[in-house]
């Protein structure tokens, strides 16, 4: 039995901007596909690369990071996030996982149209690339964890004391 492909989209929505933005979409009774799941986050900067790859290995086809952009309430967090997503994208690219599955964008508390547009675009892109290769994603996730560990190990003796001993 074969079903038409319905991509599962995860939206990581910032508590201050995009989550209320997604609420605004519902309040305006605007509709988007029901396979879009929204999780509230203080800032998506907290997620390591392997979290995203883990989402794909669990069967999420696309992840939309709906952040605050320049309205980010945390100092420097948005720039760090952007750099991390850059890194993730190049690792996905190198590993053969379609980069259409990840997108970083800014959604404000009243950005109803922007929210709907992002969902429509990601849905289109995912229809083009098809269901996620979960096995590949899991492989990349494990590589990513190893990379993180290796990075920490190589740096272990250098900055350990820089935080200042008390």
């Amino acid at each position: 039995m074969s079903h038409p492909f319905v991509p599962k989209i995860l939206v990581l929505a910032t508590e201050k901007c995009a989550y209320p933005g997604a609420d605004a979409v519902g309040k305006a009774h605007q509709e988007y596909p029901s396979n879009v799941y929204i999780l509230r986050v203080p800032s998506p900067v907290l997620f390591p690369e392997d979290f995203f790859l883990g989402c794909y290995s669990k069967g999420i086809d696309g992840v939309l990071i709906a952040a605050c952009g320049s309205d980010c309430p945390y100092h420097g967090a948005y720039d760090k996030l952007a750099a991390r997503i850059d890194g993730l994208t190049s690792h996905m690219n190198a590993g053969g996982l379609e980069i259409e599955r990840i997108r970083l964008t800014a959604i404000c508390t009243v950005c109803i149209k922007a929210f709907l547009k992002e969902i429509a675009q990601m849905t289109d892109n995912l229809h083009r690339v098809g269901p996620v290769n979960r096995t590949l994603a899991e492989q990349l996730r494990r590589q990513s964890v190893q990379r993180l560990q290796a990075k920490a190990a190589s740096a272990a003796f250098v900055p350990a004391m820089q935080g200042g001993l008390i």
Partner: protein
Amino acid sequence: MSSNEKVRTHQELEDDVCPCGEVAPEEEAHLQKEIAQAQDAGRAQHAAGAEPPLRIGVYICRCGGNISDVVDVERVAETVRLIPGVTTAKVHTFVCSDPGQHMISNDILEENLDRVVVASCTPFLHEQTFRGAVARGGMNPYLYEHVNIREQVSWAHKHDPEGATQKAIRMIAGAVGKLRYAQPLEQIKLPNHRRALVIGGGLAGMKAASDLSARGISVLLVETAQQLGGHLNQWGQVYPSERAAKEITAELAKRVQSDPRIEVLLSWKVAEVSGFIGNFKVAVESLYPLGGKQSRIEATVGAIIMATGFRPYVPRNGEFLFRTDPCVVTLPEFMQAMQGATPGATKFTFKGRTVRNVAFLHCVGSRQLDGVHQPDENGRLNTYCSRTCCTTILQQSLALHQRYPSVGIFDFYQDIRTYGRGEENYYTNASKAGVVFFRYNGEEPPRVKPTSPEHTSRGALTVTVKDTLTWGEELEVPVDMVVLGTGMIPGQIPDLIDQMKLATGEDGFLQEVHPKLRPVEVAVNGVLLAGTAQGPMNIQESLSAAGAAAVKAAAMFAKEDVELNPYVAEVDLSLCTGDAQCVTQCAYEGALHIVEMEVNGEVVPRAKVNAGLCVGCGACVAVCPHRAINLNGWRLDQYEAMVEGIAAELPGQACEPELVSIR
């Protein structure tokens, strides 16, 4: 993009709001050192005790049909009951109602629940409500999880009931998964400073200060002008009581200035504001040198009332010949002129001109239209109605008529908005007094020009209007004086808005959290709105808002402590190896550092969070290869469990065995 434009453009909830609306949104302010101690104490309380098997209660709200008209809530309950660990799954029409909340606290006691999920509206409305219900049942409020199946399910997937139902089930499965990794947390308690700062000594500020004092709360009232009373000091009689405005302000000012609990600072301004509810640090500065005396005062206050008021709209030079012809004046200027007038005089002279006919123009600087009016220096049009000018114009017309019965009065309006109690009488009476009304279309406002030389004897000015009452006939009305019905524009407080992170609406006025449910509160906890800082209001409305703000502030002071959500980073010392990757990511001085500590008899470096300085951004979490650092309440394993709940097949359905793991 800007977060300044939120609630007012939202669809108002109208009838579908829930019956109770008490919410306190999450606080994430910079915390003080005390927090760390408070947290450690809470941690110790919960350190002991082994993990019993989970007993999770799931409550699904119909929201009176808002949810259940789309989502098959009964099926959701039946399905989520199959998730391991869920022992109770119930549906209620309004979980936020008293019986609904009682059901939860009762079940916790009777069925020994140790985790609770409520699937209802957005967490911004009722997360705190249900945390309270859970706490009343004796459970730690952070073992509660909120699922939004209204704004983000039923309202967003109205035409896909099957999809909406499945989404609701998956979201609940995710929340149940998150709760498996939840830890009891203690709210961070900080002392609540029982003193309020009222910014602005106009009508609303005085009223708020006086009401707060009546409840035993001391107040610091800061006013930039040299006297209390604000704009009212310049006006004559005011509607609907027809009392002299000065009497009203004098009465309130006397009350405020003689009150030992209220400290009044005139010609002072609020220079700096930082901190958070219960603990705002403010600095006030004198506008003039005080000759040796201290001209800067720092204070700690628990609440701040914004009574910063409005500015009257001032027409641009040349707008309706304003500042070009001496007899084109604004409404406040006219009110001042009327104050000086002798009643019963036969001849009305203004700026040396004998005034036989006066034109009143409504909506000057209000209800502006794109393409018709010129935007201000910020590119903004005042599209809103200033609400008070219609009645004021009619009241002033009558005042003029009473003083100079022979003066002809012509009123040019697009709509007459005499909406308040008793205000319609002003319209009726003005009609009876012979005021002649012309109605114009907003896109074609009346024009004022000097009368052509051969007709100046009829009046120095001519108002031309396309009058819709006479089916669009273009009429020319010669007058000697034009009164511009100017409205209100936002007060100029950019520094305060910036420092206090206040939201403004598209109109530039300060914005409340919700126009119906939380009309005097702003998104920043502990800051309240009083009067026209929030938008055009008349005197009665300003006083009501100020009274409401005072009551809200007093309610906040009823608690000895301020409680904040403990969403800060925490290190798991059993996993930390002292790599210090996290430290490199932290942008907040002193929030995260490496300390030496003894583990198994060995002195080793380990990461340590200063909860008082951590803001809970989580930048540190992503880089730890051991997952030794996490944000309390938003742990990585909790997010992974949520994703698993969402991605897995529906509970109870046949599927690939390795994917079923909701656990």
